[in-house]
């Protein structure tokens, strides 16, 4: 009887110590899921998903408030990665949120710009420079192509220009030498 008690108490002590050690040494800080989702999102900050930025959308996905197919800039590949991460089914992009387009940057027609600063206020990543009554311009390296500057422009001088493929950004294609039976 006594030995049984001692054994049980010993086991309890050892297990308790192991658990205590684990809780200190394998502690997980914060909510890594939101971070992981946010890392997949393209950070365009365009709001097409219905949330004010990528991070809020990531929050909403992790809470189950939003679906994974609401990000047009992320496109099909983004949906596939989210589905992989969250163990969900891949589904097509929700057309209500927009359509997947090739990567583009905003371009301000400097002849037409009146310097109203509305686009500067709209830009989520401060990629437009200029001042009141001064011509504005887009720093194309910083532009995420969110199109948020287009609507506020009173003179419609902003257009989206697709980023052309260059020798430096060109990618080797997946080698396809399909072996299929001829007819």
């Amino acid at each position: 009887m006594l030995s049984a008690l001692i054994v049980m108490a010993g086991i309890a002590l050892v297990l308790g110590a192991v658990l205590g050690y684990a809780s200190i040494h394998f502690r997980v800080e914060g909510d890594p899921l939101v971070e992981k989702i946010d890392a997949i999102l393209p950070q365009t900050q365009c709001g097409q998903c219905g949330y004010p930025g990528c991070r809020p959308y990531a929050d909403a996905i992790s809470k189950g408030d939003a679906d994974i197919n609401q990000c047009p800039p992320g496109g099909e590949e983004g949906i596939r990665k989210l589905a992989d991460l969250l163990g969900r089914e891949v589904k097509p992009l929700n057309a209500e949120n927009g359509v997947e387009k090739p990567r583009a940057v905003a371009f301000i027609d400097e002849q037409t710009c009146i310097g109203c600063t509305l686009c500067i206020q709209a830009c989520p990543v401060d990629a437009i420079i200029g001042a009141a009554k001064q011509m504005h311009t887009v720093v194309s390296g910083l532009c995420t192509g969110c199109e948020l500057c287009i609507a506020p422009c009173p003179v419609d001088c902003i257009t989206m220009e697709t980023i052309p493929e260059t020798v430096e950004t060109w990618k080797w294609r997946y080698p396809v030498f399909a072996i299929r039976q001829a007819a």
Binding site: G53, I114, W172
Partner: protein, 544 residues
Amino acid sequence: MKLFKFNGGVKPETNKDASTALPIATLPLPGRLTVPLHQSIGGTPRPLVRTGQRVLKGERIGAADGNVSAAIHAPTSGTIVALEPAVMPHPSGLSALCAIIAPDGEDAWAPVNPVDVRALSGGELRDYLRDAGVVGMGGAVFPSHLKLNPGRQGKVQTLVINGAECEPYITCDDMLMRERPDSIVRGTMLMAQVLGAERILVGIEDNKPEAIAAMEAASRGTPIRVLAVPTRYPAGGAKQLIRVLTGIEVPHGKRSTDFGVQCFNVGTACAVHEALDFGRPLISRIVTVAGNVSTPRNFEVLFGTPMAEVVRTALPRPDTNRYVMGGPMMGFPMPAYGVPVVKATNCILVASDHLFPPPPPEMPCIRCGECAKACPADLAPFELYWFARAHNYGKAQEYHLFDCIECGCCAYVCPSHIPLVDYYRYAKSEIWARERDKDAADQARTRFEFRNERQDREKREKAEKLAAKAAETKAKLAEEATGAPPADGDDPKKALIAAALERARQQKAAVEPKNTDDLPAAIQAEIGEIDARRQAAMPAEPPA
């Protein structure tokens, strides 16, 4: 001296004899030169010329963009007829900015200013070489001035000069060593001086006895040691040659200077000599034309010369259907016959389906391990292939994908005829694209978060300011109330509004454009048009 060995490697037919029978020939001036501004690793040089401008031979037409870049020069005298995108000698078939030069036939040199290496500091010398456009001539076109830096650790003990030239068909280095060994030796000594190298080793594959003899004769009386290395592809890979000559293995991502070694191609040594001793920038190179031609030989070709013009001189056979830039193991198919010769063009391999038949059908990998036996980087190529095929890039990098030098040995020996190197190129370019996207996303995230924080701060500050002002006004009013009772209770408020209105009016007057007088009619009309559009776009009077 004891030589070392690298694992793997293959021994394909070398096919080098055909193009070494004749001496290096010079081509007549072509009718048009298409000089791409971007011919080296690094930034695209900024154009220094305008359309219609006359340039002299050797005149700088593109200035290095930053330190990792090299300048571009006019290969002959003539007129810049256009600065426009043209198809690049790149497998993508994409275009990039080129200077199109119509030669005037005079081939008149711009004034040259040779320098005395002793009189220059290391930095000045490197700037000089950058502005002379000297890049690695072995095919990698890495700006040479960056490699001529002894680095922080002190000096580079060993300078390796690469004359191995292991790729089949290519003989441009071989012919250069046979015909201009003195220039190579002089350039090598200059580089050794800059680097402070004590040991200078020239590695030449033992299937080039003439080149070895010529280099030995030219280097007599210098500390240069010419060493014959066993002929085995890819002995001419920089890492493999360093391994063979010194036993040092330089991993991917590390600089060879960290190990006290630096390696240059024999052509680069020649270019350094030309630039420093004669002040001549890099405007031409030796190009082997071989393969499906009647008279394969080497030519000294000005950059920008269309490949078809060079090949024509070597009499291509009628069944020619494409050009390859480089050799049969690592070369790239060219998108057009008219693409220009650039600094990286060591060989134009004229191809036909008879000479290089399309690969047999691809079979599944049977994991036979032939590729692993052949890999000079000791990789497991078939594992990399599985990962690349499955888009499993993380795993591919774990298995050292980026240590792959794309030499093609694995695909050469594969009994299943799998285009292994294509899979690695695909995976590498995907990984680079992903890294670019990730960097852009990280930057956007930071900027977005910063903007949100700033907006919050501005809102907060505004609210605080307003609160402070309101308190102030209240205090003032209370003071006035306690002092003399106001005649009209609304008076101060009205005065404030009047003042604000006056300020607004003044502001409006201030921003009224004042430079609209005395403008030409066309611009007046344009302003009118813009104003009209503005009127149309905005309500005439902002709603009160």
